[in-house]
Structure formats: C-alpha cells, structure tokens
Amino acid sequence: MLVVNHVSKSYGKFEALKDINLEFSNGVYGLLAPNGAGKTTLIKMLTTLIFPSKGEILYNGTNIARLGEKYRELLGYLPQDFGYYKNYSPRQFLSYLGALKGMDKKVVNQRIDELLKLVALEDVATKKMKKFSGGMIQRVGIAQAMLNDPKILILDEPTAGLDPKERVRFRNLLSELARDRIVILSTHIVSDVESIANEIIMIKDKQVLYKGSIDEICKKIEGMVYETSIPYEQATVFKKGVFSLSEKQEDGLLKIRFISKKTPEPTWTAVKPNLEDVFLYVYRDDIQESSAL
C-alpha cells in the first residue's frame, strides 16, 4: 500500500501542495484537476523526482526516499513530457530502459516482444523513432512504463496524442493491469478516467478536495443538475442565473445542461450528474480564468 501522509511541497515561499493525505491500494486512481493545480507536483513526489517539504510517502510502511532504488524497481512511470532517443528504435530504447531498470536481458527481450504487440508497434519495432507520430511515441511511452511489470504504475496525461480507438484499447489495458497493482492516472480529461477509475482524487487550492468513487463524488451535486430547452434570445439572461455545463442546438431551441441551487422551474428536468459536471462545477473559477486568457 502506498500512503501519502500529511505531505506539503513548497518552492521557496510558494506552496504547491498543502497537507495531502491519500492511500492507494490495488486499482485505478484518477487524479483529476485542471492544468497547474499541482497534479504533476504530486506525481513527481510519488516517483521520487522531488521530495516533500513536509510529511512523508510510505510504501508498505517504509518511506520511499529511504527505499531508493528498491522503490524505483517497483515503479513504472510515463512522464507528461515523454522524452526518448530519436535515433533509437522502440526495441533499442526499451532495451536501454530495461538495462537502467536493472532487469535481466532475457526477461527484457521477452517483455519487449509482449509489450510491442500489446501497443501494436511490433511492425515498427526496429524502425527509428524520429519518424514516429505523436500517438506512436505515446504508445512507446506506455510500453516502457510497463516494462518491469511495475507494482506501481504512474501515468501523467497518458492519452495525449492517442486516437479514440487507441484510447479505448489503453483504458481496457489499464483496467486489466489494475487487478494486481496500483495504477495512478493523472489527467484533466474526464472521459479518460470516468469509465475505469475505482477512485477519483480531485485537487483544488493545493489540497485534496474529494477522494472517492465516481458515484460518491457525483452525489456532491445530486439534485442540482438540470436540463431545459429555451429560445436563443433568452439564453443570455438565463445563463446569468445558473451555471451552464453544456449547450447544444435542438429543434431550433437551445438545449442547456446546467447547475442551479434554486427551486426548479416546471420546464427543468432533473438529470443524474456525471463526473464532468462535477469537474466543471468544482473548477469553474479556474476554467473561466483559463478561457478568459
């Protein structure tokens, strides 16, 4: 079990994360927050790239900083900005990382064959990666993260560059992998985690805002999400009184999904909230700020 115990991280006077407490056992965890919320800082602490300013991270009761290379042997990591040697082929690059991970050569070669097949790159296994598309590179990244059959798999924005078919394949793969390991998936794309995560962790104002199953988190706004159709000319006034989640044109009217704490009007239909509704509602200030930019 991986335990984050009262962890804070500061850079000089700037506090990036404040008193984070989390527990991870086998399963998929979706770390969900907008860009700049501190997801990558938390991920970097979990991968020992940086250490907490306060608190500790324990794996099976021992501080991961003390475990050092023994912890890193259990770790699979896909960074947000995945770097690779352009002149290497996927096979060479995976062999290189296998050696750095301290794996036996025979095991590495066998594992590379399996993984390249799994990420559908067996046809280009010996081609130089400099000519690869973004999606192909990302699949190499996913393969390298799984190379040592890690007990803790940490993926930072793993679906960037993948097409819809690859995303589905990837999600299914993660669900299967999570049976006997911890999979932590950091993303700001709700659909990446909605179907596979056992638990969602939402970070806001440098702290953990929610941690729980999707159903538990959706309950936070239960009874507040509605849909209605209104003429376009009323849209501006209507949106001033509610928090709009999504809008689309339907039969000449504007069909709007929104959150309101007011007493519902007869034309409003209450709907079951989903994770995206919670995400949009929780981070409404951040989203408005970034769209204003």
Partner: protein, 253 residues
C-alpha cells in the same frame, strides 16, 4: 506455601548475538565500494547503453584531438620564443576534450528530454553521469598523455613529468569543479558559465598579467604539482562517489 517457579525461555548469548547480526545485516545492507558499483553498472548496461551517443563522442574526440595536435605542433615559433608558454597551453587545453564530451553527453539528455525517465530507473541520471564522467576523465587523461608525448618529442625543452602533472592538474581541477557545480548548483547559467568559462578565465588571466600567470604555473615545483594533482584526483573520485549516492538523500528538480 510452595511458590511455582516460572521458567522463562530466554535465548542463549549465542542466539542473541546471531539474531542481532541478522537484524543488522538485513537492516543495513552492505555498501558496495564505488569501483564495484561502477563495475556492476558496466556489466548491467554494457558499453552501448552507457554511452548511447558514442559515435558522436568518437567523432568530436577526433576533431578536438586533431585541433590540439595541430595547434600544439604548429605554434613552434611562439613556444620557442616564450619557453614557459607551452605549459600554459597544456594547462588551458588539458580539460578541453573532457569539457566537450561531457557537455555533449549532458546536451544529449537535455535535448532528448530523457532526464525524468532516467531519474525513475534503478540506475538514475546521477549514477549514469558519475560513471560516464569517470570514463570520460580516464579517456581524456589517456589522450592528454599521448598529446604530451607528442609535445615532448617536438619541443625538447619541455619536461615530461612537469607537463604531465600540469596537464593532469588542469584536467582534474576542471572536472572536480564541474562535479561540484553539477551537484550543488541548480542554475543553468552557472553550469554553462563553467563550461565556457574555463578557457575564457585562463585567457583573461594570461592576457591581464602574463608574467604573474606564467610565474604561478611555471614556478610551482614538481613535488607541489604532484601533491595538488593527487589531492584533486582523490577529491574527484570522492565527489563521483557522492554523486552515485546523491539522489538517495537529496532529491532533484
């Protein structure tokens, strides 16, 4: 009244000693020596993965060595007119190859953005860099010796021992400084300044007060050079050792 006598099943002294030694052994795994660690890494990674850009390194080494040999052998008029200046040349250029291949190796990692990934592996960036720097310094040391032999054969007024010690001092002074900056300074500007500053500072010192600079370099006795060189080599190995362990306690980024 007869009191029942309790017998506590207490382990023997030998048992206690054995258990303590087992706990200590498990709790404090035996530290490998630096050279054993280097050897283990070489066995695990092999030459190809320890030096992923070995072709570039070989190419740049040939270029630098050719430049050194041509410049050193072509500047005969100047070196003969100013007998001490050849030692200045040897001192300033001694870490040139080391500087270039270290920069190339670090640039390779920076350019390919593999730093984060390599930091999360069993053998991390600092361990790899320590082994690479050790190998580069040995390689540069060998190239410098060949260069000095060529210079001694060409200029008969040069003392091999003095030239060798000056060259080794220059090489290990620069390499130790590089290690210190890499480990203790996070500012990229300072790191880059060191890489380009060595030649600039020496040239400036040479131009600013040629006599003083040459006096310092030429009047130091051979035995003093030997002491300085030995100290620098020990300091260098010591810091490479620290670099191997660096990540375990310090963290990065």
């Amino acid at each position: 009244m007869n009191k029942e006598k309790f017998k506590v099943d207490f382990p023997s002294d030998e048992d206690i000693a054995r258990q303590i030694s087992f706990i200590v052994k498990e709790g404090l795994p035996k530290k490998e020596t630096f050279f054993k660690q280097v050897y283990t890494m070489y066995r695990q990674l092999g030459f190809q993965f320890l030096f992923p850009n070995s072709i570039e390194i070989a190419f740049i080494s040939i270029l630098i060595a050719t430049f050194l040999f041509i410049t050193g052998l072509q500047a005969r008029d100047y070196f003969e007119a100013e007998p001490g200046s050849v030692y200045t040349f040897i001192f300033v250029t001694s870490p040139l190859l080391y500087l270039t291949i270290c920069s190339l190796s670090l640039y390779h990692i920076w350019d390919n953005r593999t730093y984060e990934l390599e930091m999360t592996c069993k053998y991390d960036f600092f361990q790899l860099t320590a082994v690479r720097m050790l190998a580069f310094s040995i390689f540069c040391f060998a190239v410098n010796i060949v260069f000095i032999i060529a210079m001694v054969n060409s200029y008969h007024h040069i003392s091999f021992v003095k030239a060798f010690l000056i060259s080794t001092t220059g090489l290990f002074l620069f390499s130790t400084l590089t290690l210190l900056v890499l480990m203790n300074n996070k500012s990229k500007i300072i790191k880059i300044s060191l890489l380009v500053g060595w030649i600039a500072v020496n040239l400036f010192a040479f131009i600013w007060s040629k006599n003083f600079y040459m006096l310092v370099l030429n009047k130091i006795s051979v035995s003093m050079y030997a002491v300085v060189t030995t100290s620098l080599v020990i300091l260098y190995i010591n810091h490479l050792q620290k670099m191997m362990q660096f990540r375990k306690t310090e963290g990065v980024a």
